[in-house]
């Protein structure tokens, strides 16, 4: 471990692995979604192309897990502001770019791990990975989805200082992203105007990529990937900009 990037990554991962309680609690919500949607709606689900609902749902719930845990990883920046550790990193002779990307890569790593746990839990509900040769792609897709939302969470955490309002702001953002996407069911039956809104939801593109690599459900992969990469670039640049502006 030599660089500031590595230090920030390492710290994020180490503290995550130490906190078993947080890990357990963070799995409750995805499990509830699996049960409610999987057993509840799954029985009434019929698909024309012979795909079971669980095959459709699991990538969505994995995506939701990534979305929530990575966005919330921005919270660690708020904690560091409050408990002072941020200052220690800001006076160090390292670039702020390394500090922020180290954090976000760390957040993305722990979220990906959490997503894998959900994927594994899906096995107990009859889910099967369509094509094991794609497993590296699954990891990459999960990681980049997580990176995008870690950057988003950290960008917002750079602007906000308040520990209490941050989670509610995040929920305010995440709920529409989750439900105005095809994470849990197809949006074909949504009113036209909402379908239009979905097109502007970054999370929907992530879900489509995950659904393709995990369950083999076709989508316009090249376009979705392009959108994801561009968004990572854009949000990454904005997050770096706001992080640079922090005065302790």
């Amino acid at each position: 471990m030599k660089s500031a990037l590595a230090v920030m990554w390492h710290r994020q991962v180490k503290e995550y692995l130490r906190n078993k309680q947080r890990l357990a609690v963070s799995l409750v919500q995805p499990i509830l979604f699996l049960i409610a949607f999987g057993f509840g709606i799954g029985s009434n689900f019929s698909s024309s192309d012979g795909i079971s609902y669980i095959q459709y749902l699991i990538p969505g719930v994995v995506g939701m897990t990534l979305l929530m845990s990575s966005t919330m990883s921005g919270m660690s920046l708020i904690f560091d502001k409050k408990f002072g550790f941020l200052k220690e990193t800001l006076v160090a002779p390292v670039s702020r770019m390394q500090l922020i990307y180290g954090r976000c890569l760390g957040g993305a790593t722990t979220s990906t791990f959490q997503g894998l746990v959900v994927l594994f839990l899906g096995y107990f509900m009859g889910f099967k990975i369509e094509n094991w040769a794609r497993f590296p792609l699954i990891l990459i897709a999960m990681f980049f989805t997580a990176l995008l939302f870690s950057l988003l969470g950290t960008m917002l955490a750079s602007k906000f200082d308040d520990m209490q309002s941050f989670p509610s702001i995040m929920n305010f953002l995440m709920m529409p992203m989750m439900f105005l996407s095809s994470a849990f069911f197809s949006v074909e039956n949504y009113p036209k105007i909402l379908q239009y809104v979905v097109k502007f939801n970054p999370f929907d593109y992530c879900v489509k990529i995950l659904r393709f690599v995990i369950s083999g459900i076709e989508t316009n992969l090249a376009f979705c990937t392009l959108v994801l990469v561009l968004l990572i670039g854009l949000i990454g640049a904005l997050a770096t900009y706001f992080f640079n502006k922090i005065e302790a």
Binding site: F83, G84, V91, P93, D161, Q164, E247
Partner: protein, 262 residues
């Protein structure tokens, strides 16, 4: 450009927050190897000055040189030059004492880090607690970890922002004894802020008194006493700054502290 024998040189520094002027066009120098104390009532601009000197805040106008490097254009060189002990704590409590120092050593590219970390832990008397989480430490112990951390990369300049607030007599004594020793043996320049006049009089070679963002006087404690006709530094301080009680501007940290979850 900065002159050779100054550790810190401040030229016409002004720092504004919206329309509040925290530091108002101040200029001063600190010589290499000097212990310089910055005194002032609450909200006088002491911490803001330190934050500008240590590159955590950008000056609104003016120039600062630390270890002959420009704080705005050579930030990285400046940051390598100094160590700081912050006014409020800045450790990661979810890490052990050793881990806090280890991350610091990597950030500052300290060579031979294991050996130096252990030496410093020994020095601050925390060797047997090195693998304990900082959250289980008392205030004084946390301070000692911060002292060890501030010295780990062998800085040329040490900033101490109100370092003895809330410390017990033993830790205070430990801190000043070693600050003086380091100053003498390694010629480290020390820039400190404090409310404690006796402390300032005892450790500092020179003292600057700041109020309402302006420097009122700079000199050795003796010069200041002579100029103001006071018996001691405290009397001189009160003569210069008046006896009115000050309220401090609420900064970001305080605002956050108010939202502490219960």
């Amino acid at each position: 450009m900065s002159e050779k024998n100054f550790a810190i040189e401040v030229k016409n520094l002004t720092k504004k927050f919206n329309d509040f002027v925290a530091v108002d066009n101040i200029s001063f120098q600190v010589k290499k190897g000097e212990i310089f104390a910055f005194l002032g009532p609450n909200g006088a601009g002491k911490s803001t000055t330190i934050k500008n000197l240590t590159t955590i805040q950008e000056p609104t106008s003016g120039e600062i040189f630390v270890n002959e490097f420009n704080c705005q254009t050579q930030e990285e060189e400046v940051r390598k030059s100094f160590g700081i002990i912050f006014q409020d704590q800045s450790l990661d409590e979810d890490l052990t004492a050793y881990e806090n120092l280890n991350y610091h050593a990597i950030l500052y590219k300290v060579k031979n880090k294991e050996k130096k970390i252990l030496e410093l832990l020994e020095f601050v008397g925390l060797m047997d607690r090195k693998d304990d989480f900082v959250r289980n430490f008392s205030g004084g112990m946390k301070r000692r970890v911060e002292i060890a951390r501030g010295l780990l990369h062998e800085p040329k300049i040490l900033f101490l922002d109100e370092p003895t607030i809330g410390l017990d007599v033993q830790t205070k004594n430990f801190l000043w004894k070693h600050v003086k020793k380091l100053n003498k043996e390694k010629n480290i320049t020390v820039f400190l802020t404090t409310h404690n006049m006796e402390e300032a009089e005892a450790v500092a070679n020179r003292v600057g008194i700041i109020d309402h963002g302006k420097i009122l006087i700079i000199g050795t404690p003796r010069e200041i006493k002579e100029k103001t006709g006071a018996k001691n530094l405290e009397e001189a301080f009160l003569k210069l700054t008046g006896e009115e009680i000050r309220s401090e501007r609420v900064d970001q940290m305080d605002r956050m502290r108010r939202h502490k979850p219960r």
